[in-house]
């Protein structure tokens, strides 16, 4: 390890309750913006959320209908694989359980896909049972484009690259198909408490 730089601490915040911080993470008060590409700007009258793929019948909601779905407000901790964690973040959105209601499928995996081409893979088990949402408000305000607005996937129990920004749909798949970062070496599952950052961890 490199010798310590005298007096350097960085923008981290000392943590009151270390039990809330997964191994190797540092807490921040900021909300860093990370991106693999330019921020998309899909007009709301062209936006829709779709569930398709290995399903009996695809289902899709335009924006106004999506907002009319039963929603929840949740406060969760989020953990980015780049080592920052942010505690007590407040979101409003539609539970993926609600979105999957009535969707008939026999497969076990989903690929979340977004405007701009980003994808990430998850097991159906990881996005159901109250563990995932499609969120359109953050901190009581409409979700800003740089943070994934109008809507992003929110799966706080996994590393935050799985919470796809600018999400437009879920494709149900029989196999676990690596998404963008997973293809380039990041872990298929991504549990921060097991420090599953990279393939092979």
């Amino acid at each position: 390890m490199s010798p310590a730089s005298r007096g350097f601490f960085g923008r981290r915040r000392p943590v009151a309750d270390p039990a809330r911080v997964p191994p190797g993470q540092y807490v921040t008060d900021d909300f860093p913006v990370l991106s693999a590409g330019p921020t998309p700007h899909t007009p709301l009258d062209e936006w829709s959320f779709t569930i398709h793929g290995a399903v009996e019948e695809p289902v899709s909601w335009p924006w106004e209908e999506f907002l009319a779905l039963p929603s929840e407000t949740v406060t969760v901790d989020i953990h980015c694989v780049t080592k920052w964690s942010k505690l007590d973040t407040a979101w409003k959105g539609v539970s993926v359980d609600v979105l999957l209601q009535g969707v008939e499928t026999s497969v076990d995996y989903v690929t979340a896909w977004s405007d701009g081409g980003y994808t990430t893979n998850l097991s159906l088990e990881e996005v159901t049972g109250g563990k995932a949402w499609v969120a359109y408000e953050y901190g009581g305000e409409p979700l800003e484009p740089e943070h994934g607005g109008p809507a992003r996937l929110l799966v706080p129990h996994l590393y935050f690259w799985k919470s796809a920004k600018w999400v437009r749909g879920l494709t149900l798949t029989p196999d676990d198909e690596p998404g963008f970062w997973e293809t380039y070496g990041y872990h298929n599952h991504g549990d921060p408490w097991l420090e599953q950052r990279y393939q092979g961890d």
Partner: protein, 91 residues
């Protein structure tokens, strides 16, 4: 979030290839546009560096540092000179 350019990953590419790479010229596998690596669009604020073609915007290269090892996937930027960049290519 402003994108940078290939200069921003010069050090990481040198680490991986063992030589200066930003002067390397290649073509985008998606749209065929030629370009110098230094002039590609680079997003560094990410779980890795994502490099895109300046003309069509598609991803041409991804750099990930996993457990201290740099990995470079350059599948979609086809180098014209397989030997890579020369340190002082004049304009």
């Amino acid at each position: 979030m402003e994108a940078l350019d290939g200069n921003a990953i010069a050090g990481q590419l040198f680490e991986y290839f063992g030589r200066e790479m930003t002067t390397a010229v290649g073509t985008c596998a998606h749209c065929g546009a030629p370009g110098t690596l230094a002039e590609l669009v680079v997003y560094v604020r990410a779980p890795g560096a994502v490099v895109r073609c300046r003309h069509c915007g598609d991803v041409v290269m991804v750099l990930v540092s996993a457990r201290g090892t740099m990995r470079v996937a350059m599948d979609d930027f086809h180098l014209l000179d397989p030997a890579g960049g020369r340190p002082d290519a004049s304009a």
